[in-house]
Symmetry: C2
Subunit: 257 residues, 2 copies
């Protein structure tokens, strides 16, 4: 039977989920989307594939998934149908018909994440699920230097959860930077790379905040890239500050960095 | 026994509360703050007084409360102590010692509220508790005209819940306007007045959106101010888009409108 492949851009508030991927210990984003598709398909199971997992509490502004349907349906109609069956914390932002060899994970050329830090002395009640609260005085020059050292092609073993199932831990980070959002009194990290390992950005942030706080020197990054030991790096920062912003399927994203 | 009066600026995310005021049917903001003060005072009950109630789901960026303590404590120390005992969705933003005749409600000269409307075709998952979703094409000229008709001193009986306990329903609205927040694809209403009746702003918004949608003409506002009948006005818009932004204790706020 011939099928049509669809690519969807998905936003979700990860607060109430165990993560993107189906797990036995709680509600997942994947499960909710598959449930919505199954309802739309009158009981037929549709498997979806995402660009990658996101952890518990992690948000997405631009997660990408693909799936095949035995029917051809207008993208906007599909979007309307699925959104009407999804819970309010997940929303399909865009639907496209794509060729059968498009693959949300394998076709991805790069990803962009941001990580938001609430700098208010007392945590902002409206940001409690959307930022990490870190109200300490920081050395921003050391922070910028540390981040610049993460850019480039490296073996990121020190910045990868030991629970990874990957063998090759070499990745290229194109952008690792931080900006102050004065209006919101936030620090916003941006990371763009050809791929990120399990917990990689959260360990980047946990380690860089230690450097910003003066607990470690920026040169610690050089040593961590050298020693390839997760236990040598800083803590894994909370998932709630992390957002998957973009998944790139065309190498041209590198031209605008 | 001599006491010291304290004035506090309070922020809260109203999502998980039945409203500001203590009620038998659920958790209130007042109850949480009084519990925190009681803990700080080693079991002594401290009654707090706010500038006014906010309904279920309504948020505050600048609610004001006062209370008396039998001790004198530095404002920043008090802030730290209370915040450390409050849940994450309530935060004391500022503490001041005030004179004994300052009263959070009776001394108030005016208030400012905003109301946020999410214009996205599909509701933004991150705004589901913080905006009203209203994705319809609107006549913004008619909306602006309707709002301007609300400004001034009027008997607002048509815009007040019949459950009010007030007798005098005349209030002065200094500002009733709406602006587009293009970056967030929101419509943001601002209302500033010398006082607002029970549900008044939510009925303003419910009625004005009907006018914006073309269900009623802007001149309907003139008629509503005339007939003094709650049933003639539009619906009470959801509390979740509403924010108490400022309470003014000095008439000088009128100079900067």
């Amino acid at each position: 039977m011939s099928t049509q492949r669809y690519k969807c851009l998905v936003q979700y508030d990860g607060t109430n989920y165990v993560g993107y991927q189906i797990q036995i210990n709680g509600k997942s984003v994947q499960e909710e989307i598959e449930k919505a598709l199954k309802k739309m398909m009158k009981g037929q199971t549709i498997k979806i594939t995402a660009s990658g997992r996101t952890d518990s509490g992690v948000h997405a502004l631009g997660q990408v998934i693909h799936f095949d349907l035995p029917i051809s349906i207008k993208p906007e109609s599909l979007r309307l149908a699925v959104n009407s069956m999804l819970p309010a914390d997940i929303s399909i932002k865009q639907v496209e018909k794509v060729v059968d060899d498009f693959h949300a994970r394998y076709s991805a050329k790069g990803k962009k994440y941001i990580y938001r830090v609430d700098l208010n002395r007392f945590a902002d009640p409206f940001k409690r699920f959307y930022t990490l609260h870190h109200p300490y005085r920081m050395n921003e020059d050391n922070l910028a230097l540390a981040l610049s050292k993460l850019e480039g092609e490296h073996d990121f073993t020190s910045f990868c959860s030991t629970r990874t199932d990957k063998e090759n831990l070499v990745r290229t980070v194109y952008v690792a930077k931080v900006e102050r959002d004065e209006a919101n009194n936030e620090l916003v990290f941006t990371f763009i790379g050809n791929g990120f390992l399990y917990n990689m950005i959260r360990i980047f942030v946990g380690t860089c905040l230690q450097i910003a706080d003066g607990l470690k020197k920026p040169e610690e990054i050089d040593r961590l890239l050298e020693v390839k030991d997760r236990n040598a790096a800083g803590p894994t920062a909370s998932g709630k500050g992390l957002y998957l912003v973009d998944v790139y399927y065309d190498e041209s994203f590198k031209e605008n960095l």
